[in-house]
Amino acid sequence: MEEESGEELGLDRSTPKDFHFYHMDLYDSEDRLHLFPEENTRMRKVVQAEMANESRGAGDGKAQRDLQEEVDELVHLYGLEDDHELGDEFVDENIPRTGVSEYPPYMMKRRDPAREQRDWRLSGEAAEAEDLGFGGWGSAGQCQDLREAYRYTHGRASEEYECYVIPEEEDEEEAADVFCVTCKTPIRAFQKVFDEHKEHEVIPLNEALESAKDEIHKNMYKLEKQIIEMENFANHLEEVFITVEENFGKQEQNFESHYNEILETLAQKYEEKIQALGEKKKEKLEALYGQLVSCGENLDTCKELMETIEEMCHEEKVDFIKDAVAMADRLGKFLKTKTDVEISAQPEFEDQTLDFSDVEQLMGSINTIPATGSSVRVCWSLYSDDTVESYQLSYRPVQDSSPGTDQAEFTVTVKETYCSVTNLVPNTQYEFWVTAHNRAGPSPSSERAVYMTAPSPPIIKTKEIRSCEEAVLICWESGNLNPVDSYTVELTQAESPEASGVTESVVGIPTCESVVQLQPGRSYIIYVRALNMGGPSVRSEPATVHTIGSYFRLNKDTCHPWLTISEDGLTAVRSERRTPARELSPSDTHFTRCVAVMGNLIPVRGHHYWEVEVDEHLDYRVGVAFADVRKQEDLGANCLSWCMRHTFASSRHKYEFLHNRTTPDIRITVPPKKIGILLDYEHSKLSFFNVDLSQHLYTFSCQLHEFVHPCFSLEKPGCLKVHNGISMPKHVTFY
C-alpha cells in the first residue's frame, strides 16, 4: 500500500502536469485502520470504480483529470454546502483536506459502476441523497495504489476483469449504516451483534454524521470568529505601527534640533571665551610693555645723570660747585619720584567661571516636544559659508481650498537658525519659509515647510460620565474646530498622588467617547488629550470617577414633556398643573404617553445597583427598559420593559410587577420609601428591595440580550429622586 506515482506503476497514460497527487499516507496508517476496519472492502470498491474508468479506454487520462476536478468540486459542494456562513477562505482551506477524506467513496459503491462517472457529475445533491460519507478520494495515484493492492491481495490481474469484480466475501450490499459511539467507527448493523461491539452504544449512521457535521460546523464558526478578531487586531496593530513611526519621526526631529542648538550655543561660548582670553592677554602685554618702556626711560635718565656727574667731577672747582648744586637739585627731584617696581600685570590668567546655565536648560528641555497648541519651534540650516547677518522667518496658515481669502502673513527676524513661533491657532497647519539677509540684501526664500500646531485640549463632559464598579464611559468635546487624528485618555488613581501613581493611557481613540476598564472601589482622575500630526495637546481639565456602585444620570432627551429633570440629573419632578388632554405626537426619543424618563446606564454587563426615593403616596413605576422601547406605551406594558408599579388609591397601596402587561399577585404591607434595584446581567435578573427594611420584594427573570437602562415614571404629580454610586448592601447580595 505504499504510495507511488503513476509513472512508477508503469501505466501507459502520462500523468497530466497539473495533477495533484494525494498520498494515501497523508493520514497515519494507524488512523486509517482504526476508522476503517473494512480496508479491503474499500480498496476493492475503489478499484472497481477505477477499472470502470479504465474500461473506457481512450481519453482515460482526460477522464482521470475530469474525475479529479469533479471530485474536488463534489467534495467541496458536499462537504460544505450546508455551511453558508463560511467565507471563501474556508473553502480554499478545506478542499485539500476533504480531498483526502478518509471516508471511502461509498456512494460509488452503491451505484452501477458504469454510471459512476456521470453520477459524480450530478454532484452534491445526489451525494447527499446517499447520505453517506464524504465523497471523494484524492487522486489517480490513490486509485492506482489501491488497484495494485487489490492485485496483490487477490493475485489476479485486474485487466482480466471487467466492471463487476466483487469478491465472494463481500456479498452484502450495505455499507456501514450504523455508528458505534464507543469505538467511534462506522460499522454495519449486524456487526453490533459481534463481540467487539456487543456492549457498545450504537446510533444510526445518519445521526452520527449529523452530529459530526454539527461539531465541525461549530468549530468552523468559532474559527471564523477568530479570524475576524485576528484581522481586526492586525489592523489595529498596523495603525499602532504607523503611530510608532510617526512618533519616532517627531522624536528624531526634536532631538536633532535641540542637539544642534546646544552645539551652536557651545560653539558660541567657545568663541566668546577665546576672544575674551585674547583681549586679556593684550591687556596684560600692553601694561607690561608700558612698564618696560617707563623702566627704560628711567634707566636712561639714571645713566645720563651718572655720566653728567662723572663729567662734573673732572671740572674746575668753581664750575663743579655750580653744577653740583644744580645736580643735587635734579637728583633730589629725580630720586623722589617713585619708581614703580611692581609688576603691573600678573602673568597668570584667572579662572573664569563660564555661565553654562542656558546650555543646561537646553539640555534639560531636550525631551520636550516642541509643538504646543499655540507655538511651534522651527529650525533651519544654511548650506553655504556666506555671511549672514540675520534670518527672516515668514509664516501663514495653510489654505485648504479657496485662495481668495489670503490669510495674513507674519514675519519674524532672528539671528539664530531656529525660532519658536508663538500665538498660533491650535490644530492648524502653517507653512514656513526663511530668507537669509546680509548687507548685500536678502536671499531667495527657502522651500516652504509645513508644521502643524498641536490641538487644543478636549473638554470632558463631566455631567455625562457614567460608571459602574468595573468601568467608566467618558465622553468629551473635541475642543477643536477642525478634526483631530485621535484622542488619548489618561488616568491615575486618586489615592496615590503623582509621585507613586502610575498613569494608564488609552491611545488611538477615534471618537469622542471611550469605555475604560477600572478596578472596583477606587477613585480615579481622568484626563483626555487630542492628538494630531503636530503632537498631543496638553491635558484637559480632569474629571474624577469613583468605582463604587453604578453611576448614571437621567437623560433629558428621553424625558416626557411633563417631567422636569434637575440640574444634577438625579431628580424627576412632575408638577401640579393643568395638563392638556391632547395626545402628544409620537416620538422615538422621548416618552409621549408614560410620563417617564430613562437613565443613561453604562453599557457594561455585570451588576448594577441603585436606589430610588419616593413618597409613600406617589403613584410611580420604576424599573428598566431597552433603549428602543416604544415610547408611546407605558412602562411594563410591553416585553421591552420591566417595572415595579405602585398606585395609591382609597387609602390602599397596590403593588404590581409589570412585564408585558402581566403581574404576579403580590401584597406588600409596608410601603417602601426607598426602593433598591439590582440589575444582574449575569443571572438575567432584576430585583426590587425595600432598602430601609432590607426586605426583598420581587425578582424578575429577564432575557437581557442587549443593554437596558433604568427608567422611572410618575403617574401623578410628585417627585422621585435617584441615588446612585452606592455599593450593593449585604442583603442584596443574597439575590
Binding site: 399577585d665 427594611l693 443574597f734
Partner: protein, 253 residues
Amino acid sequence: MKFAVYLPPKAETGKCPALYWLSGLTCTEQNFISKSGYHQSASEHGLVVIAPDTSPRGCNIKGEDESWDFGTGAGFYVDATEDPWKTNYRMYSYVTEELPQLINANFPVDPQRMSIFGHSMGGHGALICALKNPGKYKSVSAFAPICNPVLCPWGKKAFSGYLGTDQSKWKAYDATHLVKSYPGSQLDILIDQGKDDQFLLDGQLLPDNFIAACTEKKIPVVFRLQEGYDHSYYFIATFITDHIRHHAKYLNA
C-alpha cells in the same frame, strides 16, 4: 417525640444557624424531609434544619385518632388546657423550649441564631411562635398558613377541643390577633399561597385578615399569591429555595 434533623456540610467544621420547620395537618417528621427539596438550598447557605412531628403519638387518649384535623397529627402548636389533652398536647412549649434545648445540647447549632417556618397548620405555628416571642427568631415565613384560626372551621374545632370554650384564650394562639398587639422587634415575613389551594377557597386560611392587620400595624410582609398552585408539597418544593434564602439572609447576616 420524633424529629428529623438535616446537617449541612458546613456543620462539620462549625456551628450553624438553626431553621425550624413546622408541618401541617396529618404530617409526621418525615414529610418535609423527603418531599420538599430543601437540601440543596440549606446546604448552600449552611443551615441546620429541624422538623419535629406535628403532635405526640400513641398517648392512648380517647378520640385522638378520630379525625385527621384534631388530635393525632393535629397538635396545632398550642399548649392544651383542657382534659384529656393537657398532659400530652403541649406542642407550643415543645417547639419553643423543649426542642431547641435538646437541639442546642446535641447538635452543632448556634443557639443565638434561629428562624422558623412552616406549612398550613405549621405556618400558623411558625407565625404564632415568632409573634409570641419577639426577638427569639431572626425571621419567619410560611406556606399557605392558617392565619386566623379563631375564625375558620379548623381553628374553631381545634381550639375548642384543646383550649375550651373561652374564646379569649384562643386569641393568644391566633396570628392575626397577635399581630395587632405585637410590640416587638422588626420581623420580615414572607408568605406564599397557592391561588388554586382548595383550603383557601374553603375559607380555612384567611390570609387577607392577616395582611390587613399587618398593614395596619406596619409589620413588613411580602405575600405572594401563586397562580396555579395548590396546597401540596409540589407547591412547597417550588418555592422552598426562596424561603430558605429569605432565612439565610437574616441567619447569615
